[in-house]
Amino acid sequence: MSAPSASAGAPPGVARGGIRHQVVAFVVMLAFFAVAPYFIYPVFLMKALCFALFACAFNLLIGYVGLLSFGHAAYLGAAGYASAHAAKEWGVAPEIAILFGTAVAGALGVVIGALAIRSRGIYFANITLAFAQMVFFFSLQAKFTHGEDGIQSVPRGRLFGVLDLSQTMNMYWVVVAVFIIGFLIVYRAIHSPFGQVLKAIRENEARAVSLGYRPEQYKLIAFVLSATLSGLAGGTKAIVFQLASLTDVHWTMSGEVVLMTLLGGLGTVFGPVVGAFIIIMLENVLSQLGDWLTVVQGLIFVGCVLVFRRGVVGELGRLLRKPL
């Protein structure tokens, strides 16, 4: 079964022209992050950045490996709870808390990935959903998560013992840094020999096997990487909002990240970032308008699938004739 296609990425040989555009796009993105907090409410930006990282991690799996996971909320949420608990109950420094959350998500990714990788297509989606529901159930029942009240009043702490994160702008720069690190990891994974093998597996698995590659291993590594970076996003988000709740492990959160990635452009580098920002902005705007949010989100899904399959960045890339 052919996977949902990534945007027509230029083969590696044509890299030169493509890389320049991507570097330009990257610098533009950084400039935006540098300037935006002076015009836009920083907490909103931080939320968007966390989700952008989550979407980039998710995109690794669907855009480049061709596997639609319908249970990615499990990693976001589990990391959120782990980080929140570490920061609040154990009193560790924020960077340790976030790393702890990331590690928990990674471990979860190894376990679920090992079991799920054997399937593909709709079965893969279902099995990831099944495990995510189990994570939800565990989050609901476990004492330390406090059920629907969530873990509240998580302290922001001092980064490395020095930088006071309760100051909004300090927290902001840290989130930007975390996002950039995650983004670059994803970028590196895609544009590397590892990424090439993934692409080969996606295009023609049988031939990749005949060349001596073991697809299961590659898929698993990609899966764990995707889960780990989702955990990084979740742990950071828990510190920013000082809160970990059931929303982050609910299956509708898994649906949201699919929406963000689809809207931004499956298999593009910058698509998930753009998609995340648009969706978060939409939620903000529509929260004032009562209940039109789900309707609008649904319409975006429908519109994207019917006429806008490449997503915002995909279409932009097509216009410029360069992969973005």
Partner: protein
């Protein structure tokens, strides 16, 4: 490798530039001249009917009736939907306080969201008037000098309903509880009251939130032969359980339901033929006296005919009392206003005379109500008969028992 290096260098340069150039952030100033009220609740899912837009209407009515304009107090009311998500609610609260100069947030159903907003309000020293949320922690472990908890809480409901029923001879109970923190809290509080009153709990079963089918749990309740089946849940779960209870002949078989958190709009959704006989505690009912009736008439005209629930009444009353305090102090500084609200006895057409304790708990009488039979209802929304009044001093948890740090021993 090539690409990666280029990007990494670009990243480092840009980040360095950003750090070098970071200066002051555009910060919001303290609101001047305008009292900005933010109604934050669920406009789209479980709690949209018992609070929702109705709370916005109630807040507007409070401001108009108070005559804020005539007294030279400029007010503005905004609202938002927190979708029952703690992170959405907390982000809206932060944005409201930081960027949009909101002075006070009102309503907030869903205890998870309320607890989050409670903390943010305390950190930013604004004001928070809770009407919808149930958690008694808001005036207990999580009490704050910036929060007033108005309408009701889990302790009041548990005590009111539990005590009254046990005294009336209902001494065997079976609980059907939502498997959620607030469900557990309700069950625990009622169980304590029942056993203290000499009753027995014959069994309990916990169901996942938003369960459609209660047949299995009702069967277990029937088998226990308990006189009262306590529903420690809310909203759709309660109404589904009651509706299906009728199907299984629970009431005909001699057992009765005790709703532990029921609102007027739930009874309306069920219809009297299914809800009749249901007993629960409420702190407000629109048809109790002329003042409440007058309010209800004006309210329903502005709220698509829906009559006010105790939540709506709580929003109206808390905003009114807040405005009084602001006018007296000539300031909308959160901590000061809340302190003034605690220092001033309350008097409004809906809850009558009352006080706000040092832990933020608003004290007023509670009423044990029973849903009328269809034949007893003479007009639209004529649903309750008041069986007993619980005096204010007994309706809420004693001050010393909450574990609130504001209470000096």
């Amino acid at each position: 490798m090539h690409r990666f290096k280029a990007l990494a260098i670009a990243a480092l340069v840009a980040t360095a530039a950003a750090f070098a150039g970071s200066g002051a952030v555009a910060q919001s100033g303290i609101s001047d001249g305008v009292i900005k009220i933010g109604v934050l609740n669920d406009q789209s899912s479980l709690y949209a009917d018992l609070a929702g837009q109705g709370s916005v209407v109630a807040a507007r009515m409070a401001v108009e009736d108070y005559g804020a304009d005539k007294k030279g107090l400029k007010t503005e009311i905004i609202f938002a939907d927190h979708q029952n998500k703690a992170d959405v609610g907390s982000q809206i609260a932060r944005q409201w306080y930081d960027a949009e100069k909101v002075d006070v947030i009102v309503d907030v159903p869903n205890s998870g969201v309320a607890l989050a907003v409670n903390q943010i309000t305390k950190d930013k020293k604004k004001a928070f008037l809770v009407s919808s949320a149930a958690s008694s922690d808001l005036t207990g472990k999580a009490c704050s000098p910036n929060t007033v908890h108005w309408t009701y809480d889990t302790w009041a409901l548990a005590n009111g309903t539990g005590n009254a029923l046990v005294k009336g001879g209902a001494d065997s109970w079976f609980f059907i509880t939502a498997d959620y923190a607030f469900g557990h809290a309700l069950e625990r509080d009622v169980e304590a009251v029942v056993t203290k009153g000499g009753g027995k709990v014959l069994g309990k079963v916990r169901h996942p939130l938003n369960t459609q089918d209660f047949s299995s749990f009702l069967l277990q309740a029937q088998a226990s032969k308990a006189k009262i089946i306590g529903l420690a849940n809310a909203g759709g779960d309660t109404t589904n359980a009651i509706k299906q209870g009728a199907e299984f002949g629970i009431v005909k078989g001699g057992q009765n339901f005790a709703g532990l958190l029921v609102f007027l709009t739930d009874v309306h959704a069920l219809g009297l033929d299914k809800a009749q006989g249901l007993i629960f505690t409420s702190t407000f009912y629109w048809d109790m006296n002329d003042q409440t009736r007058a309010f209800a008439k004006r309210f329903s005209e502005r709220n698509r005919g829906i009559h006010p629930t105790m939540i709506h009444a709580g929003v109206y009353a808390s905003v009114t009392h807040y405005l009084k305090a602001v006018e007296a102090l000539k300031s909308d500084d959160g901590t000061a206003v809340i302190a003034k609200m605690k220092a001033t006895p309350t008097d409004d057409p809906l809850f009558g005379k009352g006080t706000i304790r040092v832990d933020g708990r608003k004290i007023h009488p509670a009423y044990l109500v029973e849903v009328k039979k269809p034949s007893e209802s003479k007009k639209p929304w004529d649903y309750y008969k008041v069986r007993a009044t619980i005096p204010a001093e007994q309706a809420f948890r004693p001050l010393a028992d909450g574990g609130c740090e504001l209470v000096k021993k």
